[in-house]
Symmetry: C2
Subunit: 339 residues, 2 copies
């Protein structure tokens, strides 16, 4: 870690003077250098390819900050890359806004910055503008990270959660509940005896492949907070259609399933950070699934279910045995601070 | 305020389930409705005019949340509009990211949302995408607001803080230190006996006028954290030039000057939220000043000083009497949580 005059964040690191400049020049900029950021203007000026601009934002308040498989840094990069990419866009640039608590160890900040640098490089996106605020002890829980992102949507791509129709097929790119259970087990002190790891990953590469393989692609979403159940309910409500899930097709890793059972949690409601749900016309289902499986992040992809004209707004699950049940929106206190 | 089931923020309002949907549908969306936001996708897809895209972010942690002349809501809108506009861009859209503390009164949130709605309407920008997180009691100080913004820079506008040269003129659009002293006096409980009010305002309209009046415009910046002294030092360092200020030309309202004196603070170091500093070639100085003065937010504009080739990197102030002094970067603890 570069040598600074302090070991921990001081209020003056956020006051806009010499200590702020020190923090930014020595700790932050070396991790994020890009032509735009290095200018240190209050904004980045980007030359983007022509097309509609996709724009998204997310603030990350995950606790613990470091968990098996990732940390708040790569989560913040991947999360916003994914939110922008779910429009079908190619993602170009991110902004980063830190809120730091006075006393937060600069070594931890450095570790988070390195993790953001690696995630951005892997996703092929640049961090082009940023902001750092410091608040007094007790005024925030260590560090919060906001990222916003911009991308460009190809001219022939028009995705919408309200475009689903009976007969469409629901694809899922891999196992459910990895991220949420990694954070939960870390929080409960169970992680030492478990191999559960967050799936945090940038899906923009897979989105590119899917958009190419499925010209009729209806919609994409990454099932984060509230899990797959929430995403599917949102789809059903937006398109006024029903969705029928095939219970036998829900992929969950054995360790994750075990952790869910111990904690009494349904994996359909647990956050994911490196999975996407795609809805495609039936004729493109095989091509879409093949594109997912061909991508390193999609080896466990499945056809999760299908869109039906009956029971509009309702998601059901056929467990393969016994009665079909309704998969409702989650109510109440669902794993806070998962992202 | 719309009727919700609770008076205060609950953890479940941020968990992505039914209570989250309730908060967003009943309290947030009615204030921010735009074609993009109403779709409730994870990102907005914008059709922007052709040109380079200006992109900026800022997290607002101001304390107190409500202060004379404004609150965290209009500050968050105006602050990012200004950061984007200082590239010379026309500002189009904002994202909003909330971090809410469990127990925060929903009536206060509603007041902040109304204030953001009014500020966005006044600035002529749309709020197109957003995110809301809730953290437990004690994990954040009531509410933090991140805004990011995108705009489009006209083809013939190329501003840079490193383009200044000897002979250029420094213009200031109005009085200094209003915002910082409004927050300080509110915090010290002095506001009841003072008429000091924040200058929070969106400067994108004035930027449009300046870009038109001064084809040779060199750079723009809004002197927020660290005040005018910091902005001018950044200019001097980026362009490797000196800047000489005319002490007789520094506009400060009498009440603000009085509050600065009582608290022992130099107005050159105090944050502003509705002022800009422009550097123009000498030949365009009169036209630039006239454009500022013609704008409702620029009636107190002045020629603050000039760029010189000697003492590169150093800003000096000629007080009009006695010796010229150096205006250095601020060091140490300067008014935290001013924005």
């Amino acid at each position: 870690m570069p040598l600074l005059d302090h070991d921990t964040v001081q209020l003056a690191h956020g006051a806009g003077g010499r200590l702020s400049a020190d923090l930014i020049d020595k700790l932050i900029l070396p991790r994020f250098h890009s032509a735009e950021l290095d200018k240190l203007e209050d904004q980045a000026v980007l030359t983007l390819p022509p097309g509609r601009v996709a724009f998204s934002t997310d603030t990350f308040v995950v606790s613990p900050l470091f968990f098996p498989g990732g940390d708040i840094g790569d989560l913040a990069v991947n999360g916003t890359v994914n939110d922008v990419a779910m429009s079908g866009a190619q993602v170009h640039a991110l902004s980063v806004g830190f809120v730091l608590e006075e006393g937060f160890p600069l070594a931890d900040l450095h570790r988070i910055l390195c993790s953001m640098e690696a995630a951005a490089a892997k996703a092929g996106v640049r961090i082009v503008t940023g902001d750092t605020k410091v608040v007094g002890r007790g005024s925030c829980d260590r560090i919060f990270v906001n990222t916003s992102g911009v991308g460009v949507v190809p001219a022939d791509v028009n995705l919408s959660a309200s475009s689903l129709a009976g007969g469409d097929v629901v694809l899922l790119s891999g196992t459910l509940a990895d991220h949420g259970m990694a954070v939960m087990t870390a929080r409960e002190g169970l992680s030492f005896r478990s191999s559960v790891r967050s799936d945090t990953a940038a899906l923009n590469g897979m989105v590119h492949d899917l958009v190419t393989a499925c010209p009729g692609l209806k919609t994409l979403r990454d099932p984060t907070r509230g899990g797959a159940a929430t995403t599917l309910n949102e789809f059903a409500a937006s398109s006024k259609v029903g969705i029928k899930l095939d219970g036998a097709q829900i992929p969950v890793k054995p360790d994750v399933a075990g952790a869910c059972e111990i904690l009494g949690i349904d994996p359909l409601y647990v956050a994911n950070e490196g999975k996407l749900i795609a809805v495609v016309p039936a004729a493109e289902a095989e091509a879409g699934l093949a594109a997912m499986i061909a991508h390193p992040l999609g080896t466990d992809a499945v056809m999760l279910g299908r869109v039906v004209a009956d029971h509009p707004g309702v998601v059901t699950l056929d467990p393969g045995f016994g009665a079909e049940r309704i998969v409702d929106m989650p109510v109440g206190k669902q794993l806070p601070r998962i992202c």
